[in-house]
């Protein structure tokens, strides 16, 4: 299945220190489950996706079990013009994707020691918008995409 990234779900939440605007009715609402975790973090299965107007288009994928740990993520459409990771049939089945539009895709951003930011286009995180079940996928066409695609550089472009 070829997934063209369209929109990103943003959850606007206050920082932990500020009072919450409204209480959450369901504690598990909006929790993304990665049954296989992330590569290198296979044991961690539950994340929340947090964002704010100031930080957009970046979002934080924060570990539920340890909210001090998070990954900076971004929708690939912000960084590249056409991103079409090919997801294997097995993974489409695993994620129960009926349609390419079911897939919410975002990619992990690394901020390097020198301040440069790169995004991993080789291993996108693909989440089913309906079930909020996701997986870090190595797409069939992974060779096309970079592990460290530049997002922003300290120097010009």
């Amino acid at each position: 299945m070829k997934c063209a990234e369209t929109t990103v779900i943003e959850e606007r939440r206050e920082e932990a220190s500020a009072p919450a605007r409204k209480p959450q009715a369901e504690p598990n609402k909006g929790v993304i489950t990665l049954p296989m975790g992330l590569l290198g973090f296979e044991q961690v299965k539950h994340y929340t996706l947090l964002g704010s107007a100031e930080e957009a288009p970046f979002l934080w994928l924060q570990m539920v079990e340890d909210p001090s740990l998070a990954f900076l993520v971004i929708s690939p459409s912000v960084v590249v013009n056409s991103y079409e990771p090919e997801i294997s049939d097995e993974e489409v089945k695993f994620l129960e994707l009926a349609d390419a539009k079911d897939a919410l895709i975002f990619n992990i951003v690394t901020v390097h020691a020198n301040g440069d930011a790169t995004v991993n286009l080789k291993g996108p995180i693909v989440v089913n918008r309906r079930t909020l079940i996701g997986k870090q996928v190595v797409p069939l066409n992974a060779a096309r995409y970079e592990l460290h695609h530049p997002v922003a550089a300290n120097s010009s472009n």
């Binding site: 992330l38 590569l39 290198g40 973090f41 100031e54 930080e55 957009a56 288009p57 970046f58 934080w60 001090s68 740990l69 998070a70 990954f71 900076l72 912000v78 294997s88 049939d89 097995e90 993974e91 992990i108 951003v109 690394t110 901020v111 390097h112 301040g115 930011a117 991993n120 080789k122 291993g123 870090q136 190595v138 069939l140 992974a142 592990l147 460290h148 997002v151 922003a152 550089a153 472009n157």
Partner: protein
């Protein structure tokens, strides 16, 4: 891990429909031909390893700051 010795052109079968064949041996490099259904991803181990490394480098603990994006998205 199952270890099998194969000579050039010999093949192994995994499950019902995955075949791995030694197609060439060049010095210390073994070229493998892999036949698998399109539904089964086949990747060099290194791809997984490098993504793992990248994930680990990306994990943020402590203060969170956002990189600046060039032009496209300005803070209002």
């Amino acid at each position: 891990m199952l270890v099998l010795a194969r000579k050039l052109n010999q093949q192994i079968v995994i499950g019902d429909d995955i075949y791995v064949k030694v197609v060439r041996m060049e010095g210390d490099v073994v070229k493998l031909g892999i036949q698998a259904p399109i539904s089964v991803p086949v990747h060099r181990q290194e791809v997984y390893d490098e993504i793992q490394k990248s994930n680990k480098a990306a994990l943020t603990s402590g203060p969170r700051s956002i990189p600046k994006l060039p032009d496209k998205n300005s803070r209002r």
